[in-house]
């Protein structure tokens, strides 16, 4: 692993068609992230910070410019290869949790392993262990709507971690939580960073961004 340049965005732009017009979400972004960093991407809504996260997380590809993850050119990959990278190397945590509503906590955590060809017994075992890690071993069979916001987000974190990815991407992870639960979740991220993972937090909240070791300001699709 190249510690100097782990994730590299060079002159990345992203243009979405929106009816007859185009939305320029990113207008030439350069960004280098080293392995093991704890970074906050800070910007107001509509600044393009979510688009940065989608591109870093291989959910989306740049309109122009390049993105190298561990020296692999992401923009040249097909949907199957992108899925493979998301599955093995990246864990997502979203503002609105994005859990499957009709699946139990345990089944939600198992989901990445279903697509990573892990057999059912191992899946169950690893999902339970991940839920223990986030302190939810007593909630394994609950459905998302039977859990509190903080608990749901911890299920989402367990899901993001279960395949042991090196990168954790979180988009406003505390946005739907009260301050107490929010603080707990942030503590979990700090812990994960301490374990050696690269943690990237996307937020509009200056206070939360200050918890990271490096803050990247984004405004109108550009890094300032």
């Amino acid at each position: 692993m190249n510690n100097e340049q782990f994730m590299v965005l060079s002159d990345v732009t992203k243009v979405y068609p929106m009816g007859d017009t185009e939305v320029h979400a990113l207008r030439g972004v350069d960004l280098q992230i080293q392995a093991g960093e704890f970074i906050a991407v800070l910007g107001p809504s509509g600044s393009g910070k979510s688009t940065v996260m989608h591109i870093l997380g291989c959910l989306d590809t740049p309109t122009s410019g390049t993105y190298h993850l561990d020296d692999v050119a992401i923009q040249g990959l097909n949907p199957n290869e992108l899925a493979e990278i998301r599955n093995r190397r990246i864990g997502f945590v979203f503002q609105s949790f994005h859990l499957l509503p009709r699946a139990t906590a345990c089944e939600n955590v198992e989901l990445p392993m279903v697509f990573g060809r892990v057999n059912a017994t191992d899946r169950r075992f690893r999902a339970k262990r991940a839920l223990e890690q986030v302190g939810l071993s007593h909630r394994i069979r609950h459905l998302p709507n039977e859990l509190s916001g903080g608990e749901r987000q911890r299920v989402a974190i367990a899901r993001a971690l279960v395949n042991e990815p090196s990168i954790l991407l979180a988009d406003e992870p505390t946005g739907n939580l009260d301050s107490h639960s929010g603080a707990e979740i942030l503590a979990v991220f700090e812990e994960l960073h301490a374990e050696g993972r690269t943690v990237i937090l996307v937020t509009h909240d200056e206070m939360i961004a200050q918890r990271a070791h490096r803050v990247i300001h984004i405004f109108d699709g550009k890094i300032e």
Binding site: H54, P79, L100, E110, L111, R159
Partner: protein, 412 residues
């Protein structure tokens, strides 16, 4: 979480929609199955009814020449006689069974006090096998001795026997034809016969051809019946017999008007064609119903895909490849259609079982025969169902797999 448990959750969620769709598939399957089962059974009944008149039977009746021949003008009436039947029996080994037949209506048929007007035929022993006129136990058909001695014996169709004698056993009884006493020697065993020229055999009174000749003083027979030994070479046998008779009666063997030929083999071929056409038609109608139901399933699947757009996005975010999503919805559509198909086949089987319980002693119902689900039909229906299942799942699945994960995660 497997696709199957996901499907079960979806089913619980969309119970009514799913139930209606399933009903469509069940209905489609039942209609295709029952219709084609009926198509087959009607075909079988028609064939059996045709064979009741005699399987592979050919009847030659004399006609009028339409071509001059050997100095004779055209328009000459041909007269076939009993010796022509003997000639065919002796000289055409491909037509082992051959006999001549007289037929007319006689007004003075008397039994006890009653007198009535009935159809009567004069026949030879070969008629029994040619037309499957087998006697009931305790009786016999007309034999060679009856012919030679011009005996006054009578064989009765099973319905005319009821009319003349009611429930009383008829064999050994005496009845009068044109005021001459005849002894009943046998009664026909009931058979299914759906076509005839005088009347169906169960209404006929049979007497020896020689006795008929004497009784009415006829010189010419009404027709000659024969059956080729091998139906495959029936056309050649027919040509041989044509040439033989043309030489004997002095007319052009290619004169098509010199006789009227009634070939049941040709009729059976027509019935086969009609039966095939009917089955294809029934299958087509059934298949259309199924396709409509398949469109319903595809529709439901599109709605399911739409409703679970966000879940598709979530799955893609955690590493689902397009093929994983495709497989899931293909499997869901497939499961739905096949579940409906299996239910439909079971239901059809029960329906056909119940239909077969209805007694078919009525002439009209006899045409329907006994509908059964044949292996061939079941296989055709299964493949049609499988195709529809694949198609109904494929298009929604393809849409699901092509969802953009970023868009899908934003979808509310």
């Amino acid at each position: 979480m497997s696709s199957v448990s996901h499907l079960i959750r979806q089913l619980r969620q969309d119970r009514i929609r799913i139930a209606l769709t399933l009903f469509g598939i069940v209905w489609g399957t039942v209609s295709i199955t029952v219709l084609s089962a009926f198509g087959e059974s009607v075909h079988r009944a028609l064939l059996k009814g045709q064979k009741g008149q005699g399987s592979g039977l050919v009847r030659i009746a004399a006609g009028v020449t339409s071509r001059p021949y050997a100095g004779f003008p055209k328009g000459r009436r041909i007269g076939l006689v009993r010796r022509d039947g003997q000639l065919i029996r002796n000289k055409v080994p491909e037509a082992e069974l051959a006999c001549t037949e007289f037929g007319t209506t006689i007004r003075e048929i008397a039994c006890g006090e009653r007198t009535m007007s009935e159809q009567i035929v004069g026949v030879e022993p070969a008629f029994r096998d040619l037309r499957s006129c087998f006697p009931q136990d305790g009786g016999r058909f007309i034999n060679d001795l009856d012919i030679r001695e011009r005996r006054r014996v009578v064989f009765l169709g099973n319905d005319i026997k009821e009319k003349l004698f009611g429930g009383v056993p008829a064999v050994g009884q005496t009845m009068r034809i044109m005021n001459i006493p005849f002894t009943v020697i046998g009664v026909m065993r009931p058979k299914l016969q759906l076509s005839s020229y005088y009347t169906v055999d169960r209404d006929l009174i049979f007497i020896p051809a020689s006795t008929f000749e004497n009784l009415l003083g006829w010189r010419y027979v009404s027709g000659i019946l024969y059956r080729p030994n091998d139906p495959a070479t029936g056309q050649r046998t027919k040509a041989t017999i044509k040439t033989l008779l043309a030489a004997r009666h002095g007319y052009d063997p290619h004169d098509s008007r010199a006789w009227n030929i009634f070939d049941t083999q040709e009729i059976i071929e027509i019935i086969d064609d009609v039966g095939m056409g009917m089955r294809v038609f029934m299958l087509l109608i059934g298949a259309l119903t199924l396709i409509v139901a398949g469109v319903g399933v595809a529709n439901i699947m599109f709605v399911l895909v739409q409703d679970s757009t966000r879940q598709i996005g979530i799955k893609m975010a955690v590493g689902a490849k397009p093929v994983h999503i495709l497989r899931q919805y293909l499997l869901e559509g497939f499961t739905l259609v096949l579940a409906g198909g299996v239910l439909g086949l079971l239901f059809s089987w029960v329906v056909l079982l119940l239909i077969r319980q209805i007694p078919m002693d009525n002439e009209g119902l006899a045409y329907l025969g006994r509908p059964e689900l044949s292996l061939a039909t079941a296989l055709i229906i299964s493949s049609v169902l499988t195709l529809i299942a694949l198609a109904a799942g494929f298009f929604p699945a393809r849409r699901a797999a092509s969802v953009d994960p970023v868009e899908a995660l934003r979808y509310e």
